[in-house]
């Protein structure tokens, strides 16, 4: 981990030392607003419980994002939308009176969060960008009927998670209508799934925490400029998670 952090910092440092023709122009402070829609599909390998049982969190969301840009170097915004999530593999809750297995159940909930972006170095057609994103899935619960041959009961499964992604991207904008970018990603995910049951006089509750399996990932993508007011951003992430994000922005 330390070596990787060092390499990441080394990359930033090396790029920062790129010499002379670094262009630094002083511009008057300007504020602009963008609004966009963001669709994201993610498959994240996770480790569950004390035994680090492997599973995969699949979640996708459609969110509205509103950003405020301060000069050309810093943009921050908020995200809110609708998300679905599910753990792909079975989660067995055996510390309940009647064991429960949750498999492929999808949960629909709100997702909200914040994003920030800073373009802090540029050299010829290259620039360095730092992205930060934090997202929360609002805890959501789902009730199901437990129907045994004679007895019956109710189970409730709750799920929530939050994730933090930090990216350091090298961007190349030497093309006229699009920009490509790529770089390492630092990714954290923390989630919880809880199951409870009541079957006549039997009741119990059990929860599993889960976290990302891999912290380091790779992000790359293309940003298309569709006229003076529209941007389309396509981004993929690998290793820490496999995700595809498509964002369409209107620039006011």
């Amino acid at each position: 981990m330390k070596i990787k952090l060092f390499l990441l910092l080394f990359t930033v440092f090396t790029l920062a030392l790129f010499p002379a023709d670094q262009e630094q122009t002083t511009q008057p402070l300007k504020i602009d607003y963008t609004a966009g829609l963001n669709f994201s599909y993610n498959r994240t390998p996770v480790l569950m419980g004390d035994d680090d049982i492997e599973n995969t969190l699949i979640h996708s969301y459609l969110a509205l994002e509103i950003d405020v840009g301060v000069s050309d170097y810093f943009t921050a915004g908020v995200v809110a939308g609708y998300a679905t999530s599910q753990l792909d593999g079975p989660v067995n809750f055996i510390n309940l009176p009647l064991s429960l297995s949750v498999s492929g159940q999808s949960y629909k909930s709100m997702i909200f969060g914040a994003r920030a972006r800073s373009d802090f170095l540029s050299w010829h057609y290259f620039s360095l960008r730092a992205n930060g994103e934090i997202l929360f899935l609002k805890p959501f619960e789902k009730e199901s009927t437990i129907q045994l041959p004679i007895a019956a009961g109710i189970s409730t499964v709750k799920q929530s998670f939050s994730q933090l992604a930090l990216e350091l991207l090298v961007q190349y904008d030497g093309f006229s209508t699009f920009t490509v970018f790529a770089g390492p990603q630092l990714y954290y995910l923390k989630g919880k799934i809880t199951a409870s049951e009541i079957i006549e006089e039997l009741e119990g509750e059990e929860e599993f925490d889960y976290k990302q399996k891999k912290t380091f990932g790779f992000t790359g993508g293309v940003n298309f400029e569709l006229g003076s007011h529209f941007d389309l951003n396509v981004k993929v992430s690998l290793f820490s998670k496999t995700s595809l994000s498509i964002e369409a922005f209107y620039i006011f």
Binding site: M1, K4, L7, L8, T11, E54, P90, N92, F93, I94, N95, P97, L98, S99, L100, S101, V102, S103, G104, Q105, S106, H124, Y125, F126, S144, I146, L148, P149, I150, A151, S155, V157, V170, Y172, G174, V180, A182, G183, P184, Q185, A195, I199, E200, E201, L202, K214, T215, F216, G217, F218, G220, L238, F239, S240
Partner: protein
């Protein structure tokens, strides 16, 4: 321009490498064990044809002069010896102690003539079918419609069983759970029981030797917890539970309420958490009721046979707050008409021509025999064994919850005649798969 693109690609690749190397090797599953001193090599047919003397190298022959050994000469620090395997084109490399076989295989795969190389992985048995000799007749545990009485050719209905094989996928019990068999004692040296026995007591003769002088207790004990997967005898419901023999019935099959109550109290005071009573009397009495209440209060699950007279449930089975009263079913999930009934019946289990460890005091030379018997006496131990499995698997559950769970997960096998809880089979015939396995929650 091209140079810049190369720089960009270089940085991207660097990022990929950084991301991919996350400290641990990319490994989705735990390492599978393999034979420690062996790698298996597969060479191409074309290569075999090219090799002179290949026909002289039969299975097991040393290939010291085989042309393949020239390739192997590179690996003298890792491979001790190379032999042809029984499968054509396979060769066995006997490795030097401490050799990293997976690394060796990776290297070997790069060699000419070698199509593939692999550690000789160990597989595991994935089924939980025990290998006990008479398991084939134990329809109560696993009913495929097989002949269960070889003398008569009688068969049952597939699936009319307690789903033990499926339940054993989740647990096979624990030595820490002790089933007290409060009965006529146990043949302590029976081959299918002796390793399971923990110290008990004889309340008939008031001594420490609860040896069976009737045979009934031995049979009941074997159903609940015979030594299982040992290649002999029968399979018990709880493979690993201990058996505490508590003798309260004499050689003629009679036992006083007071002796029974002593036996029950002794059991829980000495560590038993499951009590099996394949006994009963028609008259209620505070003697049995108090003993049942005491044992229940100490956290025990008490499985008791309902009786075999086709009439009201016997005591202590009828003490509903404390005991699980067990009725009998047959190999078709039907109730024999002699199985007692009443509102106190909680569940049912097979009790009609079921197999167990037979011991006859009149024929002590024939100690290790097995046979079939009928009666709710032999249905109750299935429930006792099931309770022992739950205790091992879910030690956090109280006895009341275990009793409730056993009832709620039973199959309502007589629903066509008596839907719901009824006086004949209670909640129904117990089902270990539902009892121990998870209830699947899926999107509806």
């Amino acid at each position: 321009m091209i140079k810049k693109i190369f720089i960009f690609i270089g940085i991207a690749v660097f990022s990929l490498v950084l991301a991919a190397d996350d400290g641990a090797p990319l490994q989705l599953e735990p390492e599978q064990p393999y034979v420690p001193d062996r790698a298996v090599i597969k060479i191409s047919n074309a290569a075999v044809m090219q090799m002179e003397n290949v026909k002289t190298a039969g299975p097991g022959k040393n290939l010291k002069n085989h042309p393949l050994s020239m390739v192997m000469s590179k690996y003298t620090s890792q491979i001790k010896q190379l032999q042809a395997a029984r499968t054509q084109d396979y060769y066995i490399a006997e490795t030097i102690e401490g050799c990293d076989i997976e690394t060796l295989c990776r290297q070997l795969r790069r060699e000419p003539f070698i199509l593939d190389a692999s550690p000789d992985y160990y597989a595991v048995i994935t089924s939980t079918y025990p290998n006990d000799l008479y398991f084939q007749y134990q329809y109560a545990l696993y009913n495929t419609g097989q002949v269960y009485l070889p003398e008569t050719g009688l068969t049952g209905t597939s699936g009319s069983d307690i789903k033990a094989v499926d339940g054993w996928d989740w647990t096979r019990g624990s030595e820490s759970v002790i089933i007290a068999v409060i009965d006529s004692g146990v043949a302590l040296d029976h081959e299918d029981l002796h390793s399971k026995i923990v110290p008990g007591y004889d309340f008939v003769n008031d001594d420490n030797d609860p040896y069976d002088d009737h045979g009934h207790g031995t049979f009941a004990a074997s159903i609940a917890a015979a030594e299982t997967n040992n290649g002999v005898g029968i399979a018990g419901v709880s493979w690993h539970a201990g058996i505490m023999p508590v003798k309260v019935m004499d050689k003629d099959g009679y036992g006083s309420y007071l002796a029974i109550s002593y036996g029950m109290r002794y059991s829980v005071d000495n560590g038993a958490r499951v009590l099996n009573l394949s006994i009963g009397g028609r008259s209620p009495s505070f003697i049995l009721e108090d003993a049942s209440a005491y044992c229940h209060g100490q956290g025990a699950v008490i499985a008791v046979s309902a009786g075999n007279t086709g009439s009201a449930v016997l005591y202590p089975a009828a003490y509903d707050d404390y005991c699980l009263a067990v009725a009998a079913t047959d190999a078709n999930d039907e109730r024999p008409n002699w199985s007692n009934y009443g509102p106190q019946v909680d569940v049912a289990a097979p009790g009609y021509f079921v197999w167990g460890a037979d011991y006859s005091p009149n024929d002590p030379a024939n100690l290790n025999s097995y046979h079939w018997r009928s009666g709710t006496s032999f249905a109750a131990p299935y429930v006792a064994g099931a309770a022992a499995l739950v205790m091992a698997y879910k030690p956090f559950l109280t006895n009341d919850r275990i009793m409730a769970l056993i009832k709620y997960t039973a199959d309502d096998v007589n629903a066509s005649e008596h839907p719901g809880i009824d006086d004949y089979l209670g909640y129904g015939r117990i089902n270990l798969q539902t009892l121990l396995g998870p209830y699947e929650l899926n999107d509806e």
